[in-house]
């Protein structure tokens, strides 16, 4: 074969190209159709900023129940300005977005949607590339730069570990305490109502600033709270559709810094 590219070769090669493009279109369609989960339950969290005192107990209970390194947090309590001279707090767990950038970018599918809307991590599949961290608009992921060894300072005061510690080299994040939800449902309990089936941060909050429940159930606490109060979500302009809703102080969304 000479190195000259004949017309026939060119047509052949083009045909391969067209076939590849067709296959590519299929992939693109799949890629575009990142539809949100549509299970029987759609879990969501509602946070009353007027009730949050910034005590940080949600974070400690979270660290205990999920056995998290004390230097890493799945839920953070941030200061978000003042209203009438009082500090307003903004607790920030994972938003469990309906269109989650982390799920969309993960090359191996280690981040995925559960049918009930929880954005989950498969810690066994993850290769540790950290693209999810790069893509998350809420800084909700923390990476295991080293193995968490030794005692968890929040155990047993704030709870007992219910899940395995994650290995070094993978990012981790809030799972809405899926282990409590799943176990609760199998026992016939209602997450958000029965303590054993409710996320640790919701349960521990002394001022009941966090509530949890099923958006598909019109009588759940979260559905009611969202019906009766104005609410907002973080970086709504990105179209991620978070499942964590905030009810602002005095019904005002923006707070002055």
């Amino acid at each position: 074969m000479k190195n000259n590219l004949t017309r026939r070769d060119f047509i052949k090669i083009s045909a391969v190209g067209v076939a590849a493009a067709a296959a590519g279109t299929q992939l693109l369609q799949k890629a575009e159709a990142s539809e949100g989960p549509k299970g029987e339950h759609q879990w969501a969290m509602v946070i009353f900023q007027s009730k949050c005192t910034g005590c940080n107990q949600c974070q400690m209970a979270c660290n205990a129940n999920n056995d998290i390194n004390p230097e890493m947090n799945w839920t953070k309590v941030l200061e978000a300005g003042e209203v009438n001279g009082e500090t307003v707090y903004l607790p920030r767990p994972c938003m469990h977005c309906e269109h989650a950038p982390c799920v969309e970018v993960c090359p191996v599918g280690a981040s995925y949607y559960r049918d009930d809307g929880i954005v989950m991590m498969d810690y066994e599949k993850c290769i540790g590339c950290r693209y999810c961290q790069v893509a998350c608009p809420y800084d909700a992921r923390v990476f295991n730069w080293e193995q968490f060894e030794g005692e968890n300072p929040y155990v047993p005061q704030y709870g007992e570990p219910e899940v395995e510690r994650r290995p070094r080299g993978v990012p981790e994040k809030c799972s809405f305490c899926y282990q409590r939800i799943d176990r609760g449902l199998s026992l016939g309990l209602t997450p958000g109502e029965d303590p054993a089936a409710t996320p640790a941060c919701v349960l521990v909050c002394p001022t009941h600033a966090r509530i949890f429940g099923d958006l598909n159930d019109p009588n759940s606490q979260v559905s009611q709270a969202l019906r009766e109060n104005p609410s907002y979500r973080l970086r709504e302009n990105l179209g991620t559709n978070p499942r964590v809703y905030y009810i602002p102080v005095n019904g005002t969304v923006s707070v002055e810094g």
């Binding site: 074969m1 191996v108 790069v134 608009p137 800084d139 080293e146």
Partner: protein, 421 residues
């Protein structure tokens, strides 16, 4: 044993021996650094949750960029039919192979679970740009292996010891045009989706723009062709194992000069569009480039030395015809592209976009690579230099006297007189 020691003693103080010793120093240090990283984990780097991608990703992006000479020149030779550039394509292919190997080394260091790297080929999320990048790296590297086979087959030792294997490998060049088309598809997909890896990240407005993929593609072609020409010229000056046709290189360099004009045009509009209106995160990120800690990289590294001066040199005939000036310009282009990729990666992290409501205050963070990152990173570069040096010395990767289709060493002039620069 004695004879081996004797050969070493006799050869160590030759330029080749010293060069190998110099590179070995960096390679051994990097080996130690790499083992430490696998042992201790990424905690010994200066990467953080706010800046999860740093120096190693820059080296990965830059190695991929300089590897782009392979597909660019293969396309020029086999698709557009400019046969005279075929000897340069041979060099470019070898550099491409080396560049992709470097990139894979950098990635292996960078991922948190190097033991699971194979999972990226087994588990697919076709929605992910990084999946696409992984597939392209894997497939294109395979193409490069086939493209490099005839080059490796020219190794004297292999020809003598395993003549049949060498002949088999040699015969891979029959597929050169097909491989060129395949490589062109995979590589251009890969180069542009590497930009899109950044361009699709909505959360970081300074990256979020469609030009990212085009810019990455464009800069890759510039850096890839520049490094190929530069490496050929340097090799020809340092060893008589490398022979170049200066006229051929000069002609290619002129084309590169025009490409630089197109790049500057593109860059200008990309730049101007970002100065319009205030957007939290994007504007702050942009200011990090124009007046912040990255401003030296941006104005001097990317634009003045990285683009304007080399464009002038390559388009001004007397300067272009002077080998030293031409080499300088080519080196500047490579440096400019590396600076562009470093800045592009880091700028998206340094300006931290807020998610608190009603608080448009952008915060800043910083990143300086740690010693272990530098050591391992320099080792990867030393690896690339070693691979290229071996290629020049034993595989005739820079030899413009070669009749390309049969890769036999013959003294036939290609595109003019042949002489070392």
């Amino acid at each position: 044993m004695k004879t081996i020691l004797k050969t070493i003693r006799e050869n160590i103080f030759t330029p080749w021996g010293l060069w190998l010793g110099f590179l070995s120093f960096f390679l051994l240090a990097a080996l130690a650094a790499g083992i430490t990283v696998f042992w201790k984990g990424l905690v010994i780097t200066n990467l953080t949750d706010l800046v999860p991608w740093g120096l190693w990703i820059t080296i990965d992006l830059s190695s991929i960029a300089v590897a782009a000479g392979a597909f660019s020149l293969c396309a020029i030779v086999y698709l557009f039919g400019f046969k005279r550039y075929e000897p340069i394509a041979r060099t470019a292919t070898f550099i491409g192979f080396t560049g992709y190997s470097m990139a894979m080394l950098a990635l292996l260091l960078d991922i948190g679970r190097p033991d699971r790297f194979w999972k990226s080929f087994v588990y697919w999320n076709t929605h992910s740009l990084l999946w696409e990048v992984t597939m392209c790296v894997g497939l294109y590297f395979t193409v490069l292996v086939f493209e490099v086979m005839p080059i490796v087959a020219s190794f004297e030792w292999l020809r003598k010891k395993y003549p049949r294997l060498a002949a088999k490998m040699e015969s891979a060049h029959h597929f050169a045009p097909v491989l060129a088309v395949l490589g062109l598809m995979l590589s251009s997909l890969h180069q542009s989706s590497l930009g899109a890896v950044y361009g699709v990240i909505k959360a970081r407005p300074v990256w979020y723009r469609p030009e990212m993929s085009v810019m990455f593609m464009f800069t890759a072609i510039l850096a890839g062709v520049s490094l190929t020409l530069l490496a050929s010229m340097v090799a020809a000056r340092l060893t008589d194992k490398a022979r170049v046709s200066d006229m051929l290189i000069e002609r290619a360099a002129r084309v590169l000069g025009y490409l630089m004009i197109a790049y500057l045009y593109w860059r200008f509009w990309d730049w101007l569009a970002q100065t319009y209106t205030y957007e939290p995160g994007r504007t702050e990120g942009f200011h990090l480039l124009t007046e912040g800690p990255l401003s030296f990289n941006f104005w001097i590294g990317e634009l003045l030395f990285g683009a304007l001066i080399p464009t002038f040199i390559l388009l001004y005939k007397p300067a272009r015809e002077a080998p030293l000036w031409r080499m300088l310009a080519l080196a500047m282009i490579v440096g400019g592209v590396v600076a562009f990729r470093f800045d592009t990666n880091i700028v998206g992290f340094l300006a931290v976009v807020p998610y608190l409501p009603g608080e448009a205050i952008v915060q800043y963070t910083s990143y300086t690579p740690s010693l272990v990152e530098w050591t391992a990173g320099l080792g990867i570069i030393a690896f690339g230099l070693l691979a290229f040096s071996i290629g020049v010395k034993y595989l005739h990767v820079v030899d413009h006297r070669l009749v390309p289709s049969d890769h036999e060493v013959e003294t036939i002039a290609v595109g003019g007189t042949v002489h070392p620069v």
